[in-house]
Symmetry: C2
Subunit: 357 residues, 2 copies
């Protein structure tokens, strides 16, 4: 492996000069710079990551902690992960992939070993075990998801309450007065991942305000589960004309079943989904949906965590005036991305009431 020293010799300068050319932390005359850069290219030099990390106590790596489960909202997770990796790389960082398998210990290990300069935690639950460790960790962290107590934490998430409100508002505006929510699997509510509850909260809030009746039923992604959920919904509330689906795995079966039941979408029943756009456009009836901005979430998480890393780096050297911005950058904050509803073919004017209410 080519070392910096060899590059220096080849270019006829000292090692420190090469280092400064690389980092840009000191001004270098353009002649020297070009000579060094040529040597780097000719020798095919790549700085040694370990040595760099040791000398600078910066690894240029951020850790991304994924859930171990592969049963839920996989495409969203994957898209977030890819967005994180892509954005990080654009800024010169690499991404270390951690799974939940090690449990909260992983946080300690990664932070303690200086393997990563910062962390991004996905799939954060309301009372997440990792949070105490994150709070006392000297390294910055950003959560994707919203825990119960966000004090001292920085979080990014879709504004699911607003998402719920938006879905209901859209249906209400079309004249629907009885709607059903086909929710996530019961396990999701039990695990208190939060987003499902928040959606429901928004739904109920808007419903109360707009005079809409709501029925909520958790639902697994399997065909049978959707069938059961749907028949229970129509049993209990025959006048239901609008459905909000949160469990994206349930979407396919849902549309299929409605067709079998002879309920036309959107003539008899309107459907709004909370799902990635890609899913919404692949179905038999293009779905009116609120997109889950997975890419945006990943990107923002990286940007926030990066800002913190840089603030920390610049911190000790900062003058008085710098304290305020630094505090802002380092300080806790919760960023809820505004939901966006795209009207497609699955929602329409409510059918004329057939007698109910």
């Amino acid at each position: 492996m080519v070392t910096l020293a060899e590059v220096a010799r080849h270019a006829g300068v000292s090692a420190s000069t090469v280092s400064y050319v690389l980092s840009g932390k000191r001004t270098i005359s353009s002649g020297t710079r070009e000579r060094v850069e040529r040597s780097i290219r000719e020798l095919g030099y790549h700085p040694n990551a370990g040595a760099r990390a040791l000398a600078s106590s910066k690894s240029n790596i951020i850790a991304l902690m994924m859930p171990l489960r592969t049963d839920m909202y996989v495409p969203v997770m994957m898209e977030i992960a890819i967005a994180v990796a892509t954005t990080a790389r654009e800024r010169g960082y690499d991404v270390l992939l951690l799974t939940g398998q090690e449990g909260p210990e992983a946080v300690r290990r990664v932070v303690g070993s200086g393997l990563a300069d910062a962390m991004i935690l996905m799939d954060v639950e309301l009372e997440d075990q990792r949070l105490p460790l994150v709070r006392e960790s000297p390294r910055p962290a950003v959560l994707i998801g919203l825990p119960a107590d966000t004090s001292e934490l920085t979080c990014v998430d879709l504004d699911f309450a607003a998402t719920g409100r938006l879905c209901v508002a859209h249906l209400a505006e079309l004249g629907h007065r009885e709607i059903a929510v086909v929710g996530e699997a019961a396990a999701v509510y039990q695990r208190h991942t939060g987003f499902a509850e928040r959606t429901l909260l928004g739904v109920r809030e808007a419903a109360a305000e707009l005079g809409v009746r709501v029925l909520h039923r958790p639902c697994e992604g399997s065909y049978e589960s959707v069938a059961g959920t749907l028949s229970r919904i129509f049993d209990e509330r025959p006048a239901t004309t609008g459905i909000v689906v949160q469990n994206e795995a349930a979407i396919g079966p849902l549309l299929s079943l409605l067709r079998q039941l002879g309920r036309a979408v959107p003539e008899d029943i309107s459907v709004v989904a909370v799902c990635p756009d890609q899913v919404a456009t692949q179905t038999s009836v293009a779905l009116t949906s609120v997109a889950i901005p997975a890419h945006e979430m990943g990107r923002r998480a990286v940007e926030l965590v990066m800002a913190k890393v840089e603030a920390r780096g610049a911190g000790p050297a900062g003058n008085g005036a710098a304290t305020a911005p630094q505090a802002t950058a380092t300080g806790a904050c919760t960023e809820l991305l505004p939901p966006q509803l795209t009207v497609r073919a699955s929602t329409g004017q409510a059918p004329a009431p057939t007698g109910a209410q």
Copy 2:
């Protein structure tokens, strides 16, 4: 941060002793070992990753290169990634997540910087651009997927040819004589990812042998695309009684459409899918399927790459007798996992011929 020197002082031993306790590369008296271990625990010591990497030129990290695309077989990719991360961690390695965004350059960068000790490449195409770099790289690598030329390479993949044969054999045994293959999106074939072609090869091989007629049509995952594909299939080969689906996104729409067309599964038409078990069991009719052993693929890839890393490490010190096993461990090899077909509810005896051949 606590350093090894502090642990040494606290335990009343030298730094090297602590290091040997940690690595186990020299015998340490149990008294000393326990004292050191206690100090480590009390001080909450975590070895610094950068320093370690620098001194030992081993980072204990393996790089996992994912495709940038998020449109295809996402759950499979995700499961492989998680299996890789989990298995690696069990063996004391961390996983660095790379995407295709940097292109083949990423291989050079990671290898050159000593960031990772080895690489695992996913979604390898027949003529993958990364292969030349991998071949000349001094670090071990394992591919998940099968390129056209496997010389000097180590690969893991499902035996897709056998998969194709297995599907056809199963249908043939049930008396089907005209079958259709609902393939991957045309883009997949154009990109030459290989697995789709290999499946088809197996299908054709078995079909020729068993006297079965095959019609292959590429197909996107969207409802409309599946509808078009299906109607073309039944137009061209009305006597088709068996379908092999390779594109897992097409499965939901396919079943839904067959129902609409009044073709009962499995009475009128049998369906075999190539997909994860989870997908096969969630559908309206539980699908007879060949599973994609994503977890197994990830695990094996790690095991193979790890064996190489260790062989390399032990290499230079090896004696004459060690050369043979080392060569085996380091040498190229292709490991095709045998497919396994699980019979569920979607396949059955072919209906009595209605006149066609």
